[in-house]
């Protein structure tokens, strides 16, 4: 028997953002005993930051929309390395998942006839994003939270998982510690769902909070699961850049959806200059048409500001590099100009973009109804993640599931805005369902005391050492390395250098020591985060080195073009028996004829 308190669940969900809560609700509704472990308090996860909306082809605003168009948009946005099965299921099931939220109390903005209103967003052909002003994520997480607390799940707040536990090949639970007292607790479970979100804290400029240290990715990897396509990191084109303390905070794409435009130092709308060929048929070629599109004119094509995020981010970087940037090294995002087009523009902006108005007023002394915002790219999302079965969300480890941002597949090389909130609903539900079914079909897993003790010892090591470097300094160096060497624009030489630096960072991390005791000690937590950050940083760098082309979120200076040979496989990362990381190519299964026909049909 382990010396630690043991809690038993059928399904253990790690993470309480949208994906984790949706998975927990689903599993609980199927009558199994569910526990949720979360690093923060309930309702604080990064889902609250999602602003623009949730993508679902309900066709409430434009009845030409359908799951087929949504599927094709998602595949085009992901540059065809998506898990097509996930893209299909996602497009088909998202509308039902959104309507279900309304049944649970969510209140979306409405059309004139009282149905759920949908807005335009980058890469979506028709108005598709159900939304609540610019705080859709808060509405969603609160709805899931307020529904979930009545569904019979145990929520363990401010617990951090230090290692997953296994029984032979299958999953057996997790070892975690509670932040408040620093005590270990064993969570035994028949199935585990990872819903831990992203990896933004591997970079110095990010929209992500301290929590996004790739925990699910790293825990799965260490437990023997495969990761996939880790080179695909999304740099959101519009983060705040001034003042320095707010750098990286997200500025919603909804600003551009409502008519906001990007201009360089000379006042020029530079996005018109370089529209990729595969988007030309759908993109406005003049400012007037672009404006009409944002105002709901069905005959107009979208303005180039609403091209996919990877492209917009690169164009901004190019303006800055070529000396046409704003004073603080970004470009201008202007919504105030719409006063030329409508009366009461200021009021309209405040109503449509209340959080943005508030955020800029309070943090930057900028009134966005009167003047442009200065913005630049910020690390936002990882398309790569735990490799899962598209139908069940189970990883390559039996009983270990992953959903939401920490799972790979749906978004391919680049995620469309709005597809994240729908992702977490659709695949949260699926992961919850299949985890519950797995738990019912399989008996109790056995715990291995040696594995538990080893996990606890490793976690306590930073206290055993003294006089070492502080964890924050190592974390900062790691972030600078990834930002500078494996960022928006990449090259062979820089990424080799990054791998060398990551090796030396591993050495530094192994010597880190933390002062104080185990009770609510953020230094200790940061020291533990380093292990996960180093693993996912190495995975990103190795996959990015391997992909000798440019595609979606991955751009190589030395291979600036897309190479069709790279469209046929996914990069798969595994941990070898010797502990070394390997990257292999796994072919993407051929598209069924029906789906291939949809993609072909939607190309025009």
């Amino acid at each position: 028997m382990s010396e630690y308190q043991t809690v038993e669940h059928d399904v253990l969900v790690i993470g309480a953002g949208g994906a984790g809560l949706r998975a927990a609700i689903e599993a609980a509704s199927r009558g199994v005993k569910v526990g949720v472990v979360t690093k923060s308090l309930l309702g604080k996860a990064h889902t609250v930051m999602a602003e623009g909306g949730v993508a679902a082809a309900m066709g409430n605003v434009d009845d030409r929309d359908s799951w087929r168009v949504h599927f094709a948009d998602t595949m085009r946005g992901g540059q065809y390395v998506n898990n097509w099965r996930m893209a299909e299921l996602h497009a088909k099931e998202a509308p039902e998942r959104v309507r279900e939220l309304e049944k649970w109390g969510a209140l979306f903005d409405r059309t004139k006839d009282g149905r759920i209103l949908q807005r335009n967003f980058g890469g979506h052909r028709y108005p598709r994003l159900a939304h609540v002003g610019d705080r859709t994520g808060l509405e969603m997480i609160r709805t899931l939270q307020d529904h979930g607390i009545h569904e019979g799940m145990d929520v363990h707040m401010e617990y951090t998982v230090v290692t997953l536990l296994r029984d032979g090949e299958r999953i057996a639970g997790a070892l975690a510690y509670d932040r408040e007292r620093g005590r270990f607790r064993v969570f035994r479970a028949k199935a585990v769902v990872l819903a831990t979100g992203g990896i933004g804290r591997a970079y110095s400029i990010t929209s992500n909070s301290w929590e996004y240290t790739g925990d699910g990715h790293a825990l799965a990897y260490l437990a023997g699961a495969a990761l996939q396509d880790m080179e695909f990191v999304q740099f959101h084109p519009t983060g705040m850049i001034w003042p320095p303390s707010v750098r990286g905070i997200l500025v919603t794409e909804g600003v551009r959806g409502e008519g906001g435009v990007l201009r360089n130092r000379d006042g020029k709308r530079f996005m018109f200059d370089n529209v990729p060929d595969n988007y030309k048929p759908q993109t406005a070629d003049n400012e007037e048409e672009g404006w009409r599109y944002t105002q709901g004119d069905k005959d107009a094509r979208r303005p180039p500001e609403l091209l996919t995020r990877d492209h917009v981010a690169r164009m901004i970087v190019r303006e800055v590099k070529e000396g046409r940037g704003s004073p603080h090294g970004g470009v201008y995002l202007d919504i105030s100009w719409i006063k030329e087009k409508m009366p009461n523009a200021a009021e309209h902006i405040r109503k449509k973009l209340p959080s943005m108005y508030h955020q800029f007023m309070q943090l930057a002394n900028i009134d966005i109804t009167k003047e442009p915002m200065e913005i630049g790219p910020t690390t936002h999302y990882v398309m790569g993640g735990v490799r899962v079965n598209g139908d069940t969300q189970m990883s390559t480890v039996p009983g270990l599931f992953a959903c939401g941002e920490c799972a790979a597949g749906l978004h391919g090389a680049n995620r469309l805005g709005g597809n994240s909130l729908s992702d977490l609903l659709v695949f949260g539900q699926r992961a919850g369902q299949h985890a519950a079914e797995f738990a019912r079909a399989n008996g109790d897993a056995k715990l291995d005391d040696a594995e538990i003790d080893a996990g606890a010892q490793l976690a306590l090591a930073p206290f055993e050492r003294s006089g070492g470097e502080g964890p924050y300094q190592v974390q900062e160096s790691l972030q600078e390395t990834m930002q500078s060497l494996v960022g928006i624009v990449r090259s062979e030489q820089e990424m080799q250098q990054a791998l060398t630096e990551l090796e030396s960072l591993k050495q530094r991390a192994a010597k880190v020591s933390v002062p104080g005791n185990r009770e609510y000690n953020p230094g200790w937590h940061t020291a533990l985060d380093l292990r996960h950050l180093l693993i996912i940083s190495e995975a990103i760098a190795r996959c990015a080195l391997d992909r000798k082309e440019s595609r979606g979120g991955h751009f190589r200076d030395d291979y600036p073009d897309k190479d069709p040979a790279f469209a046929t496989f996914n990069n798969v990362v595994r941990r070898g028996d010797d502990g070394a990381m390997s990257v292999t190519h796994e072919p993407i299964p051929p598209l069924p004829a029906e789906l291939a026909a949809i993609i072909e049909e939607m190309k025009s």
Binding site: K44, H46, R110, L138, S245, L363, G487
Partner: protein
């Protein structure tokens, strides 16, 4: 502690990163002093720290900088750093605020900035309090209970005006600053009898939800102690989301309670017809 050994020869490689770093150099610097509460389980003391402040810095930035450079184990709860998650609540110069939305340049420069944990909740460590009571209160409020769908496809038709009416309450980020400042909780510790402004707002959001059919009036009066609120409006003053808690949420709920239980005519009807559902 060893100094960071990371060499930066590659910095110039990425012009975007370089431009971002140039900003830091351009930003105005200056030393600021802070008095931060340190200790555990209610025991503790103020400790003084000095750190460099740059343009636009918020209190949470300063706390992080102190944590990174001088006090690795300084406990602070935070998440989004954008005023959207409501994690970093504290008392800054004696006023309940979010650390991430309080700029240093709004605070007097001459004196140290004092930062203390919220007082209405049990202290854990440094700036962190145990707010779990709030999470135990919420499930006691009757959950959302929608009317049957309006359309055969299982959906509802709702007017935007009816959505707008409750959006104010649904903006709440659950920072619990309103609970912290409420004298019923802060001074009189009536946590067992009164749910506090946050959950009165929550109840108002449910009661005024265009689809909801439940009646929470009786529980508001009895179990939730709405009568304890004597409308001092302190909660409204501290709300970082500018929700007009007292006027728009609590007073209308109080009116419902009065209408239902203290209206002589209705009392008579109730006597004759028997008790309404609650």
């Amino acid at each position: 502690m060893t100094a960071p050994t990371h060499a930066d020869p590659h910095k110039a490689v990425d012009a975007y990163t370089a431009a971002q770093q140039a900003q830091d150099a351009a930003a105005g610097h200056g030393a600021r002093s802070f008095r931060i509460w340190r200790g555990a389980d209610g025991e503790g003391e103020f400790r003084d720290y000095t750190t460099e402040a740059i343009d636009g810095m918020v209190v949470l930035d300063a706390v992080h900088q102190i944590q990174s450079e001088q006090a690795n184990d300084l406990a602070v709860r935070w998440n989004c750093k954008a005023g959207k998650c409501g994690s970093c609540s504290a008392e800054i110069n004696g006023k309940p605020k979010l650390m991430c939305m309080t700029r240093l340049d709004e605070l007097p420069k001459e004196e140290p900035v004092t930062i203390e944990p919220m007082r209405a909740f049990p202290h854990v460590r440094d700036l962190v309090t145990d707010v779990s009571w709030n999470f135990r209160v919420k499930p006691k409020i009757t959950r959302f209970t929608p009317r049957p769908p309006d359309a055969p496809d299982g959906t509802w038709r709702i007017d935007q005006g009816d959505v707008d009416r409750v959006q104010e309450f649904r903006k709440c980020i659950e920072c619990f600053l309103c609970q912290d400042v409420c004298h019923v909780l802060r001074d009189h510790h009536l946590h067992d009898e009164f749910i506090g402004p946050r959950f009165l707002v929550y109840a108002a959001a449910l009661e005024m939800h265009p689809l909801d059919t439940a009646d929470r009036t009786a529980q508001l009066k009895d179990a939730h102690g709405i009568g304890y609120c004597n409308i001092t409006k302190c909660c409204t003053t501290v709300c970082p989301e500018h929700i007009t808690i007292t006027d728009n949420a609590i007073i209308p709920l109080k009116e419902r309670v009065v209408d239902e239980f203290f209206d002589p005519l209705k009392a008579l009807v109730r006597l004759v017809r028997g008790k309404k559902k609650d």
